[in-house]
């Protein structure tokens, strides 16, 4: 049979965000797939170089609406390291609390979207209804449902009182009860098993080779979680487990995320039971001394890395964001090969793609209006030259 190429996206009912996949089909089976990005590219990194450190908090929060706290915490971690600020323990605890609430909201959201892609709409409605409980907690803590803006340089903006803590525990107890049901559903329901088992295989070796991150990697048995490997905030004092699973398929990714929900509930209860007393923020100078820093953060989708370079003024010289989805995208063509067309939406959804996080690097040549692609060597040379001009020498020579 002749092979045909079909495009999937940028506007497609199975995709919630603009992205494009070119699928080469042999009948119902996929022989090859390529990922095209750039539809969501807004130029945030460049915009961050034109705003001051405080304004950047609110700009970088809008990289992504789902993991907004992750990006800001990561950026703030860099800036605080350069400025050598000691953040109060209470602020760190509140940041951890919001981070875990965000993880719950993101995983519940994902569970719903995955169920929707499987054709299991009832579960989609259930998880999204329960997700409202977490959003209520976040709204109570920060004043907003999606972009919390709880972080500020040197601490957090809002304190938490005993009544709020009680309310959060109440809602978490409810969610814990519901999650037991989801664990049963995800591991026993025959329709879920039929749609997820042996779909989108990603063996351990390939996961390492293609740099899969977060739950995608953990479902292939890779033990990686920044919260354990390089604890930030107060994660070194908390008792929780790193969830891994070795089924190496979509089913494993469902199981890992559902069990991570349970761990997040545990973390939240620990944080609230031992909330340190004291100030919630310290003063940070308007101008940040010259320096550079990298911060690693475990976002709901995987490891998020920010790099900030300051030059002594109130505006950062360079902000670089490496979102987890960009890294996870390398595994998608591998997962899709040999699978059936009907499994494409759930396989793509299984890495929990977040395009708004990812689309920040495309080369656009304004002179002839064409996008230009670099091969690896060219790109490397170009970046070394570019940074040499700015006074940074990355080359080993």
């Amino acid at each position: 049979m002749a092979k045909i190429t079909i495009p999937l996206g940028p506007q497609h009912p199975a995709l919630k965000e603009p992205e494009n996949f070119m699928l080469v089909l042999d009948g119902e089976q996929i022989c090859d797939a390529t990922v095209n990005l750039g539809y969501n590219h807004r130029g945030i990194e460049k915009a961050a170089e034109n705003r001051n450190y405080i304004q950047d908090i609110y700009l970088l929060e809008r990289i992504c609406g789902i993991c907004s706290h992750s990006h800001v915490s990561c950026y703030i971690g860099c800036v605080e390291e350069i400025a050598k600020v000691e953040v109060p323990q209470r602020a760190k605890a509140i940041r951890t609390l919001v981070a875990e609430l965000e993880r719950i909201h993101s995983h519940l959201l994902w569970l719903g979207v995955a169920a929707y892609e499987m054709g299991f709409e009832t579960m989609f409605m259930y998880t999204w209804r329960d997700r409202e409980q977490v959003l209520d907690c976040l709204e109570m803590l920060s004043g907003n449902r999606v972009h919390y803006g709880i972080n500020t340089l040197g601490g957090v903006r809002r304190d938490i009182n005993a009544q709020q803590a009680k309310e959060i525990i109440k809602k978490i107890n409810y969610l814990e009860e519901r999650t037991k049901y989801y664990v049963n559903l995800a591991t026993e329901e025959p329709t879920v098993l039929a749609r997820t088992q042996n779909v989108g295989k990603l063996p351990y070796k390939v996961a390492l080779e293609r740099n899969a991150l977060g739950p995608t990697a953990r479902a292939s048995g890779v033990k990686m979680d920044v919260r354990k490997q390089e604890p930030y905030f107060i994660y070194d004092k908390l008792d929780f487990e790193m969830i891994t699973y070795d089924s190496e398929d979509v089913f494993g990714r469902v199981v890992v995320r559902v069990l991570e929900l349970v761990e997040s509930y545990k973390i939240i209860k620990q944080v609230l039971s031992a909330l340190p007393e004291g100030a919630i923020s310290v003063k940070v100078p308007w101008k940040i001394p010259a320096g550079e820093s990298v911060f690693r953060y475990e976002a709901p989708r995987g490891e998020d890395i920010h790099y900030v370079k300051s030059n002594g003024s109130e505006i950062p010289e360079r902000v670089k964001v490496r979102a987890p989805t960009l890294s996870n995208f390398q595994s998608i063509p591998y997962m899709l090969k040999g699978d059936y067309l009907a499994d494409v939406p759930i396989t793509i959804a299984a890495i929990d793609p977040c395009m708004s996080c990812t689309d920040r690097a495309v080369v656009y040549d304004a002179k002839n209006g064409k996008t230009r692609t670099f091969d690896w060597e060219e790109l490397r040379k170009y970046s070394i030259e570019f940074y040499k001009k700015k006074g940074v020498n990355f080359s080993t020579k």
Binding site: K16, N40, R42, I63, G65, R129, R145, V146, H147
Partner: protein
């Protein structure tokens, strides 16, 4: 008014079908749009159903500032929709470009590319605001249609 026109108007007001399109949003507005469709807010009680293709949709719900890559796709999707068509700009970015106004790959608000029927501000918009916008749009459609009928 002919009976055929009456039936078309009635079905259009009772059940406007929507198409959601992301032109470069941060996902904040998108999850709130989906939130409005799920049990707590349940915008389906106004007859709204999320559709997969522009050819079936009456209302185009757009979130996000228009990026260079998405502008021509947005135009094409708008042209594929059958008449009469309506556009809802959801969120500060779709209304005016929001925080991304001035970025090199952002063209700005939605109204620079296609005509907009209603703006819903907020960063991100709350589901209540989306419901309010939708109800106001339906109200405007009704009064507009009635005026048209009277003019005939």
């Amino acid at each position: 008014m002919k009976i055929k026109e009456k039936i078309i108007l009635w079905s259009r007001l009772k059940s406007p079908w929507i198409l959601h399109f992301n032109t470069g949003a941060c996902n904040g507005c998108d999850i709130e749009i989906v939130d409005a469709l799920t049990p707590k807010y349940d915008v389906e009680r106004f007859g709204l159903v999320l559709k997969a293709t522009p050819r079936h949709a009456d209302v185009l719900v757009v979130s996000g500032p228009v990026t260079r890559q998405q502008a021509k796709r947005l135009k094409r999707i708008y042209e594929q929709m059958p008449e009469p068509k309506f556009v809802l700009a959801v969120g500060a970015c779709a209304c005016s470009g929001g925080v991304f106004d001035g970025c090199y790959s952002v063209l700005g608000g939605l109204d620079k590319i296609i005509p907009v029927s209603a703006y819903i501000p907020g960063c991100p918009v709350r589901p209540e605001a989306i419901i309010d916008g939708v109800v106001k749009l339906i109200g405007a459609l009704e009064s507009g249609a009635k005026k048209e009928i009277e003019a005939k």
